[in-house]
C-alpha cells in the first residue's frame, strides 16, 4: 500500500495537466481561447504600460542631461537610417555589377508595402525574446511575415497570429536562425543566431569578414527577402586554422526599446528550407 498525501496527488495531476497543455499548445487547440484572452487583457496592458514605460525611461536616463539624451536618440535613429541607406546603395551597386537584376525583382525588393504596428508587450528572458504587436489576422498578417524596425532593420518574424494580435520572435531569441550574408563580402554568409543575453553570432561563416562589415539577410531558404539590413560585425575571433571564425554581430536597431515596428505585407515567406527562419 502506498500512502500518498494530497500534495502528491495534486503534483501528479499538475504534471499530467502540464503534458496536456503542452500538447494542446502544439496542436493549436488553445488559439481561439488565446485570442479572446488577449482581447480581454488589452486594456490592462495599456494601463500598465502607460504607467511604467515613463518610469523605466526615467530610470534608464537617470544622471543624464535631457538634451544629451534627446540628441543621442535623434542621432541613433539618424545613424541607423544612414547605415541602412548606405547598405541599400551598396546593394544596388552590387546587383548591377553582378547582373542579378532578375533575382532582385523576384526577391530583393525591400520597398514593399508595410504595415505599422505598436508593440504591446514583450516576453523577455535570456533564452526567449518575443514581442506582441497590436495587429493580427484581421489586418492581413499571416505566420512567417517579416518584421522590421521603422528604419527598415530586421527585427524578427511573426510566429503566431490571433485576430487582433501577433507574436513576433525577435532575431535575438535563442530559437532564431536567419540565413545572413556579409554585404559585399563576395559570398561570405552564415547563419545568424540569437544567444542568451540577447546577443547575435554569425555561425558557420566563411570568407573574408571584418569588424564593421554590414550583415544583411541572404534571401536563402525563402523565409526572408534578400538584403534587409540586420547589424554590424563587432568582433571576429579565431585563427586562420579555424574552419569557422566566431563572428559577433550587433543589431542595427535597439530591439529592447522598440515601440513601433513595420510588418512586410507583400513578402510571402516560403518554407524552402525547414531549418531556416526563426
Amino acid at each position: 500500500m502506498l500512502i500518498l498525501n494530497r500534495y502528491s496527488w495534486w503534483l501528479g495531476a499538475m504534471v499530467g495537466l502540464a503534458i496536456l497543455l503542452g500538447i494542446a499548445g502544439q496542436v493549436g487547440v488553445l488559439s481561439p481561447v488565446q485570442g479572446a484572452f488577449l482581447r480581454v487583457t488589452a486594456p490592462f496592458e495599456a494601463v500598465l504600460g502607460g504607467i511604467f514605460r515613463p518610469v523605466a525611461g526615467l530610470l534608464s536616463s537617470a544622471g543624464e542631461v535631457d538634451d544629451l539624451r534627446a540628441e543621442n536618440a535623434r542621432l541613433r535613429v539618424e545613424n541607423e537610417g544612414l547605415r541602412n541607406e548606405l547598405a541599400q546603395r551598396q546593394q544596388d551597386a552590387q546587383r548591377i555589377k553582378e547582373l542579378e537584376a532578375a533575382l532582385g525583382l523576384a526577391q530583393g525588393d525591400t520597398s514593399q508595402s508595410r504595415l505599422a504596428a505598436n508593440v504591446v508587450h514583450r516576453d523577455s528572458s535570456p533564452f526567449t525574446d518575443v514581442i506582441t504587436i497590436d495587429r493580427g489576422s484581421n489586418d492581413g498578417i499571416v505566420k512567417g511575415m517579416v518584421v522590421t524596425s521603422t528604419q527598415g532593420s530586421l527585427m524578427g518574424t511573426v510566429t503566431r497570429v490571433t485576430p487582433t494580435r501577433s507574436f513576433v520572435r525577435l532575431i535575438t531569441d535563442t530559437r532564431s536562425n536567419v540565413r545572413a550574408a556579409v554585404l559585399g563580402g563576395e559570398g561570405a554568409d552564415g547563419i545568424l543566431r540569437g544567444n542568451p543575453g540577447r546577443t547575435l553570432t554569425l555561425d558557420m561563416a566563411q570568407g573574408d569578414i571584418k569588424v564593421g562589415d554590414t550583415i544583411v539577410t541572404a534571401g536563402l531558404g525563402g523565409a526572408f527577402p534578400y538584403g534587409i539590413p540586420i547589424g554590424t560585425v563587432t568582433s571576429v575571433e579565431g585563427t586562420t586554422q579555424d574552419l569557422f571564425p566566431k563572428v559577433r554581430v550587433e543589431p542595427l536597431t535597439r530591439l529592447g526599446t522598440a515601440t513601433t515596428v513595420l510588418v512586410l505585407m507583400s513578402f510571402v515567406p516560403e518554407r524552402l528550407d525547414l531549418e531556416a527562419g526563426p
Binding site: Y7, A56, H121, S124, F127, V130, P196, R198
Partner: protein, 174 residues
C-alpha cells in the same frame, strides 16, 4: 471575495510579467512576477489557493507570452513543496525567512526548468550563461520585488500562513 482578490493578484502579475518586468532587466534576467505572486499567496493564504491558482497562472502567462503553458506549469510546481520542506526542516526559521527562501529557491528552479526547456527547443546549451545571466540576476530581482511586496503587507497587518496542507490523507493501493 478573497478568492477573487487572489485571482486578481495572479492575473495582474501575469499581465505585469509581459508589460512591466521587461522594462526593468538586470543583466539578461527579469523578475518572475507570476511566481512571486504565487509565493505571496502561499505566504499569506496558505497552500490550497496556490494549488488552484498555479495552473491558471501558467495558462495565463503562457497565453500572454505565447509560451508553452505546460512548461511554465512545471516551472511553478516547486513553490509549495519548497515551502512545506522549509517549514518541516530542522532550522527554526521565521515566516519571513521561509518566504524569502521559498521564493529564492522556487525562482532558481523555475528559471532552470525554463532554460532547459529552451535548450531542448533548440537554444544553445550554455550553462555558464545560465548561471551568470539568468540565475544570479534573477535571484537579485526576485528578492527586491518580494521585499517591495512582503514588507508592506506585513506592516499592513496581514498575518503569515503555514505552507503545509493540514487536513486529511488519501490512500492508493498499487
Amino acid at each position: 471575495m478573497k478568492a477573487l482578490a487572489l485571482f486578481a493578484l495572479v492575473f495582474g502579475a501575469a499581465i505585469a510579467q509581459v508589460t512591466v518586468a521587461p522594462l526593468f532587466p538586470v543583466g539578461g534576467a527579469v523578475p518572475e512576477l507570476v511566481l512571486l505572486s504565487l509565493c505571496l499567496v502561499a505566504a499569506f493564504s496558505g497552500p490550497v489557493p496556490v494549488m488552484v491558482l498555479t495552473p491558471l497562472a501558467a495558462l495565463m502567462h503562457g497565453m500572454l507570452a505565447d509560451r508553452d503553458a505546460g512548461l511554465l506549469l512545471l516551472a511553478y510546481l516547486p513553490v509549495l513543496k519548497l515551502g512545506a520542506a522549509l517549514e518541516d526542516g530542522p532550522l527554526p526559521l521565521g515566516h519571513a525567512a521561509r518566504t524569502y527562501l521559498m521564493a529564492a529557491g522556487a525562482g532558481m528552479l523555475a528559471r532552470t526548468v525554463l532554460a532547459i526547456g529552451a535548450m531542448l527547443g533548440g537554444a544553445p546549451a550554455l550553462f555558464g550563461a545560465l548561471a551568470a545571466e539568468v540565475l544570479l540576476p534573477g535571484l537579485l530581482l526576485d528578492i527586491v520585488v518580494l521585499t517591495l511586496c512582503y514588507v508592506p503587507l506585513r506592516l499592513a497587518g496581514l498575518t503569515g500562513s503555514g505552507f503545509r496542507l493540514q487536513r486529511g490523507r488519501y490512500f492508493a493501493h498499487l
